[in-house]
């Protein structure tokens, strides 16, 4: 009796112990238990086999939805051909069996690879189109797959359907051998496929690769300026998405034993897209739940005679309702529920007299656009960057002794008959702040784009850090050590400030895509180092207050600073600023000028700025170039430029401006 009193009840004991472990362990434990239950329930519960079949179907739907999250949700490429990729995976599995007699699971790699390959092929074609053009491209692809590929007897098999007669893993009757005719066994196989897909996709999301996906979706120009190979990442996304869809197809035909083309037609692609949208296009858990929901609906509407044939109607209503009422889908509903749940838990804990525990679990994730606000990363306190040796202030006399960072020689850019830039040469030397000014339409931005690689000069050469960069793409130039900002701000609208900056660590993080999928020690270490580096820059530019705000909605001046910060995070020793003061008021412009001087002194970056604001340029630069009507009008120190009659006449106009700035 006494003992029983002293010892708490076992349930309470487990609960206390559970509360005591760290959130991270708690999460892994929960995942482990959930997985165990997910695997074991068909054996534990007295459940009719068709329900197990539904669970298999739900896993397959979930996989296809995950493939859509990757491609459409993260990279922003609408795919109306997802069912075609699934179909290729399924029919290839049957084809491999017909030709080589190889079945599950040995045919898996080839089946998945052919889906991925076809998806990459579609991606290659669609590389240069985007948005709705891309959607039409995938639609046409689905049409072709439907009419040609899935109608071809060499691919699908005679009689217009493919079948897979044996469903045994291993040698029949031998050991180990699993008879997949038992749906419970196959359910475990399908579930493992889904778990694998989710595991890889979520690892990818929180890695350098995932950030590159988001960056490509947000702004391709900016992504390239951070050194991301936009082409590579688009193709990668198509490839992974195709592979995951192909895996779903492979599992489907192995589970069903046969497949017909109608299961992979255009309507099916629309159906899969519906699942992904109802789940919330960005969210892996959301779409998996949606997959289960649709599989469940299938079953209910099939079983209940009164509901027969209403499933399409109901899914249509469901999709439309979700879109109109709750555009973020099941994921959004889940997020709202979690918020309410957290406040209820806090209330409960306060009532129990244990305040604050509701805050205990700081999310580990970074891509907060997906998950809402993330306070965890802010807690990483870092020291200020060691102040670098401040380089001596540039004097015009020793200008020629410094190393050349950028030389543009005789750049000419023609657009048809229009000569936008006519034989302009300029040089930027190490540690300098160089200004490029000129009236509207003088060709400043065209020249700037020719230097950064956005459009190729008709003639002339660009050398960056001594290397010939003429003809290099934007991301290759970024690799040489050039960062830039944009006149029309090019931040990634879906990401918060921290993640925008984290995306800029792309080049300094040398880990590869495979390491991101499986998460190695090295990739984790690199990720930590990148985060610390970003926090340093955030502190330096005093962006801590907005670090976890999404960029859309921030004031313009802050956005300019964030863009500058992003260029600095790349670690590029040479940064080009395209009209950094445009849209800023006088006070902000002054602050910006101060900031540029501090950055040069502290970090030793070399700067080239294009500006409208003459006062600002003469105030901070060591050397200036003036262009007018595409030609170089003058060059020299700010003092020389201010005295230059031609410049005053052509551009400055009123001497008063010069006096103010002198």
């Amino acid at each position: 009796m006494n003992q029983a009193l002293r010892r708490p009840s076992p349930v309470l004991g487990i609960a206390t112990r559970f509360a005591a472990i760290t959130p991270r362990t708690r999460r892994s434990l929960l995942v482990f238990i959930a997985l165990g239950l997910a695997v074991a329930w068909p054996w534990i519960l007295p459940i009719p086999l068709p329900i197990v079949g539904d669970a298999i179907r739900a896993s397959e739907y979930g996989l296809v939805a995950v493939s859509l999250v990757l491609l459409t949700g993260w990279v922003g490429q609408i795919s109306l051909a997802q069912a075609s990729f699934v179909g290729v995976g399924a029919f290839m599995t049957a084809l491999i069996f017909r030709k080589f007699g190889v079945g599950f699971p040995y045919s898996l790699p080839l089946a998945v690879a052919s889906s991925a390959g076809l998806a990459v092929l579609l991606g290659l074609v669609a590389l240069r189109v985007r948005g709705l053009y891309l959607a039409v491209a995938t639609l046409i692809f689905a049409w072709m797959a439907d009419q040609f590929l899935f109608s071809a007897t060499w691919f699908v098999g005679l009689g217009g359907s493919a079948s897979l007669p044996t469903n045994v893993i291993g040698r029949d009757g031998g050991f180990p051998s699993f008879d997949l005719h038992d749906p419970r066994i196959f359910y475990v196989v399908a579930l493992s496929g889904l778990a694998l897909g989710i595991y890889c996709a979520s690892n990818l999301r929180d890695s350098k690769t995932g950030r590159a996906f988001f960056a490509v979706r947000g702004s391709e120009i900016a992504a390239a300026s951070l050194g991301m190979d936009v082409t590579r990442y688009k193709l990668l996304a198509f490839g992974i998405s195709g592979a995951v869809a192909g895996l779903a197809g492979h599992l489907q035909i192995v589970g069903d034993g046969s497949a017909v083309p109608d299961e992979f037609n255009f309507l099916r692609s629309l159906f899969f897209l519906s699942i992904a949208v109802v789940g919330g296009l960005n969210s892996l858990p959301g779409v998996v739940v949606a997959g289960a929901l649709f599989a469940g609906l299938d079953e209910v509407f099939f079983r209940v005679p009164a509901l027969n044939g209403f499933i399409d109607l109901v899914s249509g209503v469901l999709l439309l309702g979700v879109l109109l009422v709750y555009p973020s889908g099941i994921a959004g509903i889940g997020a709202t529920a979690r918020r309410h749940g957290a406040s209820v838990a806090r209330l409960f804990l306060r009532w129990k007299g244990r305040p604050g525990d509701g805050q205990g679990e700081a999310p580990q994730r970074s891509l907060t656009a997906v998950h809402g606000d993330d306070a965890g990363a802010l807690a990483v306190q870092t020291s200020l960057l060691d102040i670098a040796e401040s380089p001596a202030i540039v004097r015009p006399a020793d200008r020629m002794e410094r190393a050349e960072v950028l030389t543009a020689e005789h750049i000419t850019v023609r657009f048809g008959g229009l000569v936008a830039v006519d034989d302009v040469s300029l040089t930027v030397r190490e540690g300098e702040i160089v200004g490029l000014i000129g009236p509207n339409g003088a060709g400043k931005t065209t020249l700037f784009n020719a230097i950064s690689g956005l459009n190729d000069p008709t003639s002339g050469k660009v050398h960056i850090f001594g290397q010939d960069a003429t003809g290099m793409s934007v991301h290759e130039r970024a690799r040489l050590g050039v960062g830039r900002t944009f006149q029309l701000i090019q931040l990634f609208p879906q990401l918060n400030v921290f993640d925008n900056l984290l995306a800029a660590t792309h080049l300094s993080n040398s880990t590869g895509f495979l390491q991101h999928i499986v998460v190695t020690e090295r990739s984790l270490a690199a990720e930590r180092a990148c985060r610390e580096h970003v926090m340093e820059i955030i502190d330096r530019l005093k962006l801590g207050d907005v670090a976890h705000r999404t960029v859309s909605g921030l004031p313009f001046g802050v956005l300019r600073t964030v863009e500058l910060a992003r260029a600095l995070v790349t670690g590029a020793p040479f940064v080009m600023l395209d009209e950094p003061a445009s849209g800023l008021d006088n006070a902000e412009t002054e602050k910006l000028a101060e900031l540029l001087l501090t950055l040069r002194a502290d970090l030793g970056v070399t700067l080239l700025l294009i500006e409208h604001d003459v006062a600002m340029v003469t105030g901070v630069t060591d050397y200036m170039y003036v262009v007018n009507r595409g030609r170089l009008l003058a060059e020299g120190t700010p003092q020389e430029i201010q005295r230059n009659e031609a410049v005053i006449a052509a551009y400055l106009g009123q001497p008063s401006v010069v006096e103010v700035t002198a």
Binding site: V136, I140, L273
Partner: protein
């Protein structure tokens, strides 16, 4: 060679009604795309519903009034989809708008399947069904009607766009919504007008095509896919391009099957057209794309 020409000729004549229908559909897709930057994936449903309406009304009020009423219903359907789905999703994203049309498509197709069943029904005969012999092929009078109506509609369309104030306003609003609004044009109204026009054309094409090929809630809406190819071949925002694209699609369907063993394979024309469309996209594609932070969600 002569055999090839003869086969191709006959095939092209047989494909003529398809060209007419695709041209009508593609015109609608393009008008709607220009006005609201939405890929109207519900277009096939908007085309098929009027065909069923005509089918149901014809025994009661006679074929011609039924067809007129049905075409109008197509226009109304287009306006409703724009007003209650596409416009409301504009604030969310372009993707959401396009997916919204997917939802309308699925809902309408399911609705038609429930109301009229999933067996093939005969479409309403607008003109008396008569056969003419050309070479070895039989050509039907309603096929010609389809081509004639399509040509008339396309002509009327261009006249509307080039010659009327509404056409001018629609073109302006399509190019720049805000500027058009500053000029005193209500962009919402021109958008509605575009969807009305797209719906009318879709309805007309759907009714005529149903007369030629029959009515089915799943098959007829999917006839929209070649029209999307036609619209894309023409550049997706050019009306003249859409008609030209429809011609190319029709000709490919006619000619490719006469090209030896490859051509006789099922789906060979579709493969050729897909490759053609991809080639054109590859040539027309632009450079890197910028973002617009102020636009917010994408």
């Amino acid at each position: 060679m002569f055999d090839f020409l003869r086969d191709a000729g006959i095939n092209i004549i047989l494909a003529l009604p398809l060209i007419g229908a695709y041209a009508l559909f593609a015109l609608g897709i393009v008008v709607i795309y220009r006005a609201s930057r939405v890929l109207n994936l519900a277009h096939g449903a908007i085309a098929t519903l009027p065909a069923y309406v005509a089918y149901s009304l014809a025994p009661r009020i006679g074929p011609l009034p039924a067809v007129i009423a049905a075409v109008i219903s197509g226009g109304a359907f287009g306006v409703i989809v724009e007003r209650f789905v596409v416009r409301r999703l504009r604030a969310v994203s372009q993707t959401a708008q396009t997916v919204g049309t997917v939802a309308v498509f699925g809902l309408t197709v399911a609705f038609m399947g429930k109301v009229w069943g999933t067996s093939l029904l005969p479409g309403v005969e607008v003109v008396p069904h008569r056969a003419f012999r050309v070479g070895h092929a039989l050509i039907f009078s309603d096929d010609f009607a389809l081509v004639a109506v399509a040509a008339l509609a396309a002509g009327g369309f261009f006249a509307l766009f080039r010659l009327t104030n509404l056409g001018l306003a629609m073109r302006l609003a399509a190019d720049n919504r805000r500027a058009a609004a500053l000029m005193g044009i209500d962009p919402e109204r021109t958008t509605s007008a575009a969807w009305l026009l797209g719906g009318l054309f879709a309805g007309l094409g759907g009714i005529l095509l149903a007369g030629a090929t029959g009515l089915h809630p799943y098959i007829l809406p999917l006839q929209m896919l070649p029209a999307f190819v036609a619209a894309l071949l023409g550049g997706l925002d050019s009306a003249a391009g859409a008609v030209g694209g429809a011609l190319v699609v029709g000709l490919a369907v006619g000619i490719v099957p006469s090209l030896g063993t490859f051509g006789r394979q099922v789906g060979a024309p579709q493969l050729v057209l897909t490759l053609l469309a991809f080639l054109i996209m590859r040539l027309r594609g632009g450079k890197l794309q910028a973002s617009d932070v102020r636009a917010g969600l994408a």
